[in-house]
């Protein structure tokens, strides 16, 4: 299976997926760490993270997948939501909590 199909499968089979640098426990980048904190602040306790530093093919592939040049990238129910700045704006306005409610939040 090629990398684009692998990514598509990952984001469609899991309700909340964050492509990031490092892991939720040990983020390797400030923006990725911020994205994890925002998801937790939204009450999402079940989300999948993909460490792009572990696989150069995914690191480039995810940028191509959504034509988005930066990491982290958040996907909810297969849809690209945005990077950490967009996540933070949506968190502040309450949109992100609404979007995530049926997807992985216990709230």
């Amino acid at each position: 299976m090629d990398i684009q199909n692998t990514i598509k499968q990952t984001v469609t089979e899991n309700p909340v997926v964050l492509f990031m640098k490092g892991s939720a426990q040990f983020p390797q980048c400030g923006f990725s760490g911020r994205a994890v904190q925002i998801l937790k602040a939204c009450g999402v306790d079940k989300f999948v993270t993909v460490d792009v530093l572990a696989d150069p093919e995914i690191r480039q592939g995810i940028k191509d997948y959504s034509s988005w040049p930066t990491i982290p990238q958040l996907y909810v129910n297969g849809e690209f939501v945005g990077g950490s700045d967009i996540m933070y704006e949506m968190y502040q306005s309450g949109e992100l909590q609404t979007l995530l409610k049926p997807a992985g939040s216990d709230a």
Binding site: G30, S67, P69, T70, G82, D85, E89
Partner: protein, 89 residues
């Protein structure tokens, strides 16, 4: 609004005809970490442009990324971005 060291960035964003543009160079705070090794800088950019009116956040950021083109792979390692329409100030 912007210093001489980030003039190249301001020039790249001029195609968006910004009503307001601020660029902060955060590179010094990240000197030495793994991502800084490639030479790209860390920047925080706030753009206010009529081009963003009626566009969602993803579309706005894409406009900025398109304006920056290859700079995202070369001179810019990390970019914190706020993209506002004039009536959202």
């Amino acid at each position: 609004m912007t210093g001489p060291s980030t003039q190249w960035l301001a020039e790249a964003l001029a195609v968006l005809e910004p009503e307001h543009l601020s660029i902060e160079d955060d590179s010094a705070a990240h000197a030495g970490h793994a991502g800084a090794r490639s030479g790209g800088g860390h920047y925080t950019v706030t753009v206010v442009s009529a081009r963003f009116s009626g566009l969602n956040r993803v579309a706005r950021h894409r406009l900025v990324y398109t304006a920056l083109g290859d700079l995202m792979k070369t001179r810019i390692h990390a970019l914190a971005l706020v993209a506002l329409a004039p009536d959202e100030l």
